[in-house]
Amino acid sequence: MKLSDWSRQELVARLAGPGLNLWTGPFLNRIRTRIPAVVDGISLLYADYPIEAEGDFADFHVALTQPLGPRRWLRRQVNFEFDGLRIFKPLPLDQALPMMEWGLNWCIGGHAHQYLIIHSATIEKDGFAAILPGAPGSGKSTLTAYLVNNGWRLLSDELALLSLEDGRVTALARPISLKNQSIDIIGGLIPSARLSRRSEDTVKGTVALLKAPADSLARIGETAQPAWVIFPSYKKDAATALVPRPKADTVIEIGRNAFNYSIHGRQGFDLLSKVVDGCASYDFTYSDLAEAREVFAALEPAAAPAREVGPKTSSG
């Protein structure tokens, strides 16, 4: 059963009452809210996700609520609740939908220690995963949004979930969070893109959420073998360049980008070392998405000695 099987009235009633039991990858979320913008966002972005009509066990119990009291009318705000606890300071009501996404990420990062969780986008092709760690502003989400609509499958926009047994990546395939100019860029390049309403003035600027592609969702149960670690960096007018980087440095950098690396101690270090050993590792500078697509299309798993690509590959 998927979410779009329900009428709008039924969805509203579930969200306001016992909660919506929504599967996102390996996690079952029980979500409650009465905020119309969140209902709209969920029914647009999560229309094709599996749901449970009768929920028994849920991984995360979350709610988006409006604080009571007089301030409710002066400055309308939203709270994210994790099983009844308010984890974050309230945000302006306009940011309720991005807050739900951030909150769901927080739930995973803070609790799902059955995985090694790296702060990075992950995409898949032919069973192999590219891990794309990147600081905010590195263009990670834009690149991911573009590639998963051009031959790659979305595993996650924010969190790489690595199995502690074999390092394989589990897919989340949640919506991609686009910021500022990337919203129009992706909207323009991908005619089929389904974007949520924009939230202005968030800590990350203007945010809109992009619905995950249908095939990424259809194959959400398939894990992938990490084959590349690529640190993307968008630089205006820069030439496209894929430059190999030392593996030791990559391990340290990913460890720094992991949510729960230190929690796994020795096991985390061994796993990360093994994963990076099995991957080709690059720094990737780009300004042109079409060129980036070609570079990614040319990637081969367990590539022979990494080679430098660019300054500008011939487009064709």
Binding site: L28, F57, D59, H61, A112, I263
Partner: protein, 358 residues
């Protein structure tokens, strides 16, 4: 008591009944256990029985994750304490570990599956200023910036304001005794130190078994905060089971409680371990405790308060009277901690200050 409110409690009393839990009940067990800080303990409880793999997939992942986190906390506590001993090495000051850190270093049962917030230890009062200075000169910072709060800690409590490590964010609570000196039942540190035991690591000590139990009891029943009450009650259960096997322990414990003036908390410990967790207490200890027994009316009042407040602080466990019970016990703790003449201005200031922050 097969209702939703007592779901976690019943599982802790009869762990083998986990097989009868429905997925809907597991949902509540995980939430109640997470809120009480005992999720990892359940993982170890079932692991020790060889039953962990029988837990359904959904809840099992949460138990495994909590177990991983608890193991990390134990590693962190070990490392943090070693760092402290290095910083304080030149001072040649005896460091008596308290609560969680003591359980870890003495390898006591409550250390398994315990999640730690702070690291508590005790140093002699006349050395505490030097200890604080050494830690501040190293990488610890004070967490308390308000001048009134700084003064409050130093003048009226049994510890200096908590110190936080600049990078690791761990918090140290440095004490000079185990109970606030203004308390009705105050405790001098000298007899505690005299009875304390050494550890393999130089400079580190732990309290004697009786004193460790009494400290845990006074902390649980007289501190007024019960959000982790069930975890603390389980600590006491573990400690009594473990030390109870040492010869003479059950004779020594009531005597020590009388010597230190901590019979009240020990009485409550026995009562609620029996009432809530079915922990057996030997008759000779119980007969000693009968001497300290409050009146029937007070006992009934205590039961109505602690039976509620010791449940997980989760909405599925809250009855109509739970908030009132928690508030009354919070008020009781303040009454036990400070004379009214000191307490009133303190609470007024806190109330005004909170108003300013809003």
């Amino acid at each position: 008591m097969s209702d939703r409110r007592h779901l976690l409690l019943n599982l802790l009393r009869r762990p083998d009944d986990f097989r009868a839990l429905s997925l809907e009940q597991w949902d509540l067990v995980v939430r109640q256990a997470r809120r009480s800080g005992v999720l990892a303990r359940i993982a170890f409880l079932l692991e020790d029985r060889g039953s962990l793999a029988e837990v359904p997939e959904g809840p099992l992942q949460h138990l495994l994750a909590a177990r991983t986190l608890a193991l990390k906390h134990v590693r962190d506590v070990r490392w943090e304490v070693i760092c402290v001993t290095r910083v304080l090495a030149d001072l040649k000051v005896p460091i008596t570990l308290l609560k969680g850190a003591a359980y870890v270093f003495a390898d006591l049962p409550p250390a398994r599956g315990r999640l730690f917030a702070d690291i508590d230890f005790m140093v002699p009062k006349d050395r505490i200023a030097a200890v604080e200075k050494a830690l501040l000169r190293s990488e610890w910072l004070t967490d308390v910036t308000d001048a009134y709060d700084q003064r409050y800690y130093r003048q009226w409590t049994h510890q200096i304001p908590p110190l936080r490590h600049d990078r690791r964010q761990t918090v140290l609570d440095v004490h000079h005794t185990i109970v606030q000196p203004t308390a009705r039942a105050s405790v001098e540190p000298e007899p505690l130190v005299a009875a304390s035991r050494t550890l393999d690591v130089a400079a580190l000590r732990i309290l004697a078994p009786t004193d460790m139990v009494l400290h845990s009891a006074v902390h649980l029943f007289n501190d007024g905060e019960f959000d982790r009450g069930l975890r603390d009650l389980l600590d006491l259960s573990d400690l009594l089971r473990h030390f109870g096997a040492e010869p003479g322990f059950w004779d020594a414990l009531p005597r020590r409680a009388e010597d230190l003036g901590l019979t009240g908390p020990l009485y409550l410990t026995f009562r609620y371990l029996q009432r809530l967790l079915d922990v057996p207490i030997p008759p000779k200890a119980l007969s000693a405790a009968e001497r300290w027994q409050p009146s029937t009316a007070r006992r009934a009042l205590f039961d109505s308060l602690f039976d509620r407040a010791l449940l997980p602080d989760h909405k599925s466990c809250d009855g109509r009277l739970t908030p009132l019970a928690r508030w009354l016990l919070y008020a009781r703790a303040h009454y036990l901690r400070m004379p009214f003449a000191l307490l009133l201005p303190h609470l007024v200031r806190k109330a005004v200050h909170r108003g300013e922050e809003e």
